[in-house]
């Protein structure tokens, strides 16, 4: 039973447009959510996080939205740039124990010039 799901394996958008990456979770004990970005042959790097006491967190071009009732979060990238092309992982954890996160399978984002 996969507790964190990223249902879209891939997403392609035009440079300058919005990219929306989605993530669903089933474990109601999750209260801390993170997004990581991964380039080929490198380790994941932290992008942005949100705790369950918030429904939105913004950092520059990146915004994460959390809908607790739907157990759904999304990452918005505006405007998208070719350098954003990477695999994006959604991760969830209990009691802000980010080290013991459960990861989704990832979404490969391609931003076309």
């Amino acid at each position: 039973d996969q507790q964190v799901k990223q249902n879209s394996p891939s997403l392609s958008v035009q440079e300058g447009r919005i990219s929306i990456l989605n993530c669903d979770y089933t474990n109601s004990m999750f209260d801390y959510f993170l997004w990581y970005k991964k380039y080929p042959a490198e380790g994941p790097t932290f992008l942005i996080s949100i705790s369950s006491i918030k429904d939105k967190n913004e950092d520059g071009r990146f915004t994460v939205f959390l809908n607790k009732s739907a157990k759904h979060l999304s990452l918005h990238i505006v405007p998208s740039q070719p350098g954003d092309s990477a695999v994006y992982f959604c991760a969830a954890s209990e009691s802000t124990n980010a080290g013991k996160s459960t990861f989704g399978d990832g979404t490969t984002l391609t931003v076309k010039p």
């Binding site: 490198e42 991760a91 990861f103 990832g106």
Partner: protein, 112 residues
Amino acid sequence: DAGITQSPRHKVTETGTPVTLRCHQTENHRYMYWYRQDPGHGLRLIHYSYGVKDTDKGEVSDGYSVSRSKTEDFLLTLESATSSQTSVYFCAISDQTGSPLHFGNGTRLTVT
């Protein structure tokens, strides 16, 4: 990459042999983790450490052991490698449990 070095970066080994992967950090972070990533899948936690000689199991710990004799080093050992352990292994560190992880660049292990 936050001062994390994984070695080796690539390794090919035969079924049944023991293998040790090393993670070295220069950040003096308390927490260290080993994850594995398989094609088309997310990362799964193997083992983690919350201090020197303090370790615990993660989601997929069977067939793996770890040791941490110094703050800076966290070793992952495959006691008898199997083909199902062919994967990319990532080490990660954090200074607090609530902090995001900083990952190394991974070790690609192939078990033939």
